[in-house]
């Protein structure tokens, strides 16, 4: 996991963050390659946001080394942030200003001249599909529009790297797809993306590579498909019923690895035919047969228990 990647944008070694006795990030190593989309996948409290804040120099690390664009952080964080765009978990648009003014003011923080800013703002409004709302106050925008504006704002300095903390949490499916399309567009233009998410679909669609984090540690790292191959059997039969011992024995007898979670029983297998045959004989059982995906990896690696404070 620690061999150097050619042309890495971010390199972290032994990165730690303690808040008092609580270890938010417990010594992580990663290399983020240029021009790719790199994901941090993990449950709430896994240490994802803290890791991103350390990248921007907004949280001092407790130990370890971190560099972005080859510059040490936090020592050179100011120079790093000039080349990075940031989308925080919760929108922090300026409520005193309109959509366009928000972008203008933000450009001024980067020292971007008025003329260049005006050019970019025109393009970004288009990109975020907000051109017709340019003169609206931000508190009159819907949640999806505010999110799009926050993403547009993060691009005002034409960044080489964009860091997105849960970019689509709490948004409806249409907006989510629109944002995914825009992020894919950015990546295709060569921008490096780093995102945190707990949406498997988002990670699977967008990320070339990801790390699964929990309790401040990296549990594994790789391309989504490779992680699925490495950790779980290729096929899953999900039985939607309150799990009981009888069902569990049925799955095991058919050569499956069985996991219980909530109101479902998950049977992982290389050969689904025996269990499917038996299930079809039983009436009244709802079941779903699907290929294994990142969610199965996630649940296997991070455990199925509902954690404290989740």
């Amino acid at each position: 996991m620690t061999e150097p990647v050619n042309d890495a944008v971010v390199i972290a070694r032994g990165l730690k963050k303690n808040f008092g006795d609580y270890q938010a990030v417990a010594g992580v190593d990663f290399d983020i390659p240029r021009g790719r989309c790199f994901g941090f996948l993990g449950p709430n409290g896994a240490g994802k946001t803290t890791t991103l804040r350390m990248l921007l120099g907004l949280t001092p690390s407790s130990a370890g080394e971190l560099s972005v664009f080859g510059l040490p952080v936090p020592e050179q964080a100011r120079a790093v942030r000039a080349r990075v765009g940031s989308v925080p978990q919760a929108d922090n648009l300026d409520p005193d200003f309109t959509v366009r003014e928000n972008l203008e003011i933000y450009a001024s923080y980067f020292g971007i001249g008025r003329k260049l800013a005006r050019e970019r703002i025109g393009r970004l409004l288009e990109f975020a599909a907000l051109t017709d709302r340019a003169d609206a106050k931000t508190d009159t925008l819907s949640g999806g529009m505010q999110r799009r504006l926050t993403i547009a704002r993060s691009l005002i300095n034409d960044p080489e790297l964009v860091v997105l903390d849960e970019p689509t949490t709490g948004l409806d499916p249409q907006v989510r797809h629109l944002i995914w399309g825009r992020l894919a567009e950015l990546r295709s233009q060569g921008t490096t993306l780093i995102l945190t998410t707990h949406y498997m679909e988002e990670a699977e669609r967008l990320c070339d590579e990801l790390v699964v984090m929990d309790h401040g540690r990296i549990l594994d790292q790789g391309a989504p498909a490779a992680l699925v191959r490495r950790h779980v059997e290729p096929e899953v039969i999900e039985i939607r019923a309150v799990p009981n011992d009888e069902l569990e024995r049925l799955g095991q007898a058919s050569g499956c690895r069985v996991e219980r979670l909530g109101t479902s029983l998950y049977c992982y297998t290389h050969d689904p035919a025996p269990l499917l045959g038996k299930l079809r004989e039983q009436s009244g059982l709802t079941f779903l047969h699907r290929p294994a995906d990142l969610e199965d990896v996630f649940l296997k690696l991070t455990g199925r228990d509902l954690r404290k404070g989740a």
């Binding site: 942030r81 922090n92 300026d94 003011i105 923080y109 980067f110």
Partner: protein
């Protein structure tokens, strides 16, 4: 705490200052009413009403005495309000600083910009009261314009301590302590309403440690055309409060936001 934070007066601070100017411009109506209306009421009510009974004070009409004192105290309260309520709003509920800190700006730049803005608001208030005082006929001559840079400096002097309070504040109610325990008592003992030399001797000495009496020692002679004394001392006290409080404000706000 490593090193000493000196005000970073670069383009970053200017960008933060400009942001606040643009917001102020949108709310200019109520802002101007506050700048002109309040001091005008004070001067008319107290200056004429109370002045009728008081007659002269400190060798000038009570109206002139009060107007020059209120220019200084109003610079203090204006800057303190901005440094507490407005800065808190931007720092905590509105999370404006969080957004700014994701750009190349740092806490040093933001607070330098905020202090310049607090001082700018003090300046607006100073201009307004000076105009009211001029209309009431208590401004001596053109040298009174020198009061404007002094008012700006007074704004800086009080912006820093206000932002230090903000760095500790959990909510707006916390500012009541500072107003009741610091701002209001200072206003009452610093020579705004009556000369300091009527205080007991020990108190007179202690009062010299506060910044407001020094502000008044500069403002009153400039407005009323009486001789200035000990100018370097007064300037040094005002500037000293501004610099030391800036340093602590940067330290405390960094500690609060960069965790």
């Amino acid at each position: 705490m490593k090193g000493i934070y000196l005000p970073r007066l670069g383009p970053g601070a200017f960008a933060v200052w400009r942001r606040n100017v643009l917001v102020w411009r949108k709310l200019i109506g109520p802002a101007l009413l506050m700048n002109f209306g309040e001091p005008a009421l004070y001067l008319l009510g107290l200056g004429f009403g109370l002045g009728h009974f008081v007659g002269d004070m400190g060798g000038m009409s009570y109206l002139a005495f009060l107007a020059s004192g209120i220019i200084a105290s109003s610079a203090m309260t204006t800057s303190s309000f901005e440094g507490m309520y407005s800065v808190f709003t931007r720092m905590v509920p509105q999370r404006t600083y969080e957004a700014i800190l994701a750009t190349p700006l740092e806490v040093d730049d933001i607070l330098a910009g905020e202090m310049l803005w607090c001082a700018t608001k003090s300046l607006f208030s100073g201009i307004a009261i000076l105009i009211v005082a001029l209309l009431l006929g208590v401004v001596a001559d053109w040298q009174a314009l020198w009061v404007l840079p002094v008012v700006f400096l007074i704004g800086l002097t009080f912006a820093g301590p206000a932002i230090v309070m903000t760095a500790f504040a959990k909510g707006y109610d916390f500012f009541n302590y500072y107003f009741v325990l610091a701002v209001t008592p200072m206003m009452l003992v610093s020579g705004v309403f009556y000369p300091i030399d009527t205080l007991p001797p020990l108190m007179q000495t202690m009062v010299q440690l506060l910044p407001l009496p020094h502000a008044i020692e500069l403002v009153r002679p400039l407005v009323t055309g009486t001789p200035l004394t000990q100018v370097p001392l007064h300037l040094a006290v005002l500037l000293g409060y501004a610099l030391v409080s800036y340093h602590f404000a940067v330290y405390l706000v960094r500690r609060r936001l960069l965790v």
